[in-house]
Symmetry: C2
Subunit: 318 residues, 2 copies
């Protein structure tokens, strides 16, 4: 069923360790129908799939379903778009799980496009957000983990397996601490929310009366001028800057878009990030790199999954 | 003048800080005519250009010159392919020098393609060497500096200014030593020949009776089992591995091709490089990365410059 760029919709799925979101998205990036279920992440693979099918059934109940020409999935990684499988770290019941084939069957044989969640967020920012109109950009999500995706030559660059732009596992500290991925000194190991908050605590920062020891609480302290909290954000910014500089040296980006909970700290993160970029990104062709906050908000995953599945004529650039 | 893929030739220039090499290259990668002059690197910009013109005049004296349809230049960087200018670090007389326009005029208005020397080496390896048939690869040159280039989706990816794949200035050591580029902890600052040899000397390695303190001499000592020399190569390998792992996480390469003088150390470099990659490249989509030596030898720069200028039908993939 070909998509009419003017009226055709894409069904989008955003699959994470805590929720499965679904939507019907039009060619202008409007969410027309939506559904959401918790991810039964500790259950078996078929139970997780049943939750996906329930979300799809909600969407299929809409009269708009008939105009759906394609399905886009953004999933927590690792994914393998070449095989159509996913193995999300936080969903142990899914290992090399044939999600593309299962979703294809559940949607009447419609074509299904799978990308990693970092690539999906990037597709959303490129289509509708801060990377719009940029030919070469890196988009990052800094929260419990650090993910990302690339725009190269004006298009999303998912890579052969849909994992490109995986900046969280770029090593920036040769002799750094072991990372959950099995590597060492990865950007995520330094800049994600949990290590950031842990570093503040280890260096003597103490939470307020509410006992909140999250990165958001450290951000509030940094915004209030607490020097230990400020230093914790500076270290995270340093790791992010080195990863962004690495990306710029390797693929010549001129924009980095940063979203996710840790980016919610605002200037507590962005000010030291810009300073650190000035340290690490020195070559002529990387020196003019700018860093801006993400613009697509909580629907980024859904909009990006839609963009990845949309044919070029339909407005998205994926 | 269109190039006949069967008979048309490309004029190639390989411009470095010590020599300017030129050749007429056919669609199968054979060098049919060649010329070479020393680079008058300490002279003014016009004197350097006169040496380029002398090389071109040598080539133009060949009866084959009439079949030359295009000119390819691989130059020491930084280059700016979008502006057609070069600013080689070791040729101070050239800053934003309009090399493309000057070569175009010197070759009767033929179309001129400019890439950085790392991209040129990569084009050669992809066309005729160890990266042949690979869709996604990184090629590196490890010698006095560390350069590189990328193959993505089956094609050379020069980036907007012709500098992509610049692995030498990927930061892998957040708190590392300052680099000549102005950055800190760059791959080149750790893995290039001069810092490698300096590290061996600082740690107590002593040269033989010939007083040779080059990286090649350290390589010979490492091959003979000298533990300090072995450790110096291990540290260089660690930095290279982190840079290669960063590239794999960012753009999903499955091959790294390593050439240049330091790679001439053979297993003294490649054995610890493979071990270190096993440390830093852990994600499912990067774990099967292989590392092999470059295959195109001393003509890599010329062949790659030719490949970059050759239309797809002529055999090269650039």
């Amino acid at each position: 069923m070909p998509i009419d760029p003017a009226t055709g919709l894409v069904a989008a799925l955003d699959i994470g360790g805590t929720k499965i979101a679904g939507a019907l998205v039009d060619g202008e990036g409007r969410v027309r129908v939506r559904s959401r279920r918790p991810t039964p992440a500790r259950e078996g693979g078929e139970t997780v799939m049943a939750a996906v099918e329930a979300v799809l059934a909600d969407l299929a109940a809409s009269p708009l379903w008939e105009t759906v020409g394609a399905v886009g999935i953004g999933s927590a990684g690792p994914v393998d778009a070449s095989l159509g499988t996913v193995s999300p770290v936080n969903v142990p019941g899914w290992r090399d799980y044939p999600l593309v084939e299962r979703v294809r069957r559940a949607t009447g044989g419609r074509p299904v496009t799978l990308v990693g969640d970092g690539v999906a967020m990037t597709a959303a920012e490129h289509w509708l957000g801060a990377a719009r109109g940029h030919a070469n950009a890196l988009c990052l999500v800094v929260s419990t983990g650090v993910g990302g995706g690339l725009v190269l030559d004006g298009r999303i660059h998912p890579g052969p397996t849909g994992n490109a732009g995986h900046i969280g596992h770029v090593p920036v500290d040769l002799d750094g601490e072991p990372c959950a991925c099995g590597g060492r000194g990865c950007v995520e190991r330094i800049a994600a929310g949990p290590p950031l908050a842990r570093r503040a605590l280890e260096n003597g920062w103490r939470p307020g009366p509410d006992g909140d020891v999250s990165a958001a609480a450290v951000a509030a302290a940094a915004q209030a001028g607490d020097p230990i909290a400020v230093a914790a954000f500076e270290r995270a910014a340093q790791a992010l800057a080195a990863g962004i500089a690495a990306t710029a040296a390797l693929v010549e980006i001129d924009l980095a878009v940063v979203g996710g909970g840790v980016a919610g700290a605002g200037e507590a993160l962005f000010a030291p990030l810009r300073r650190s970029l000035d340290t690490y990104a020195r070559l002529s062709f990387v020196r003019n790199l700018t860093v801006v906050p993400a613009a697509t908000g909580t629907d980024a995953g859904l909009l990006g999954a839609a963009a990845a599945a949309m044919p070029p004529g339909a407005g998205a650039t994926g």
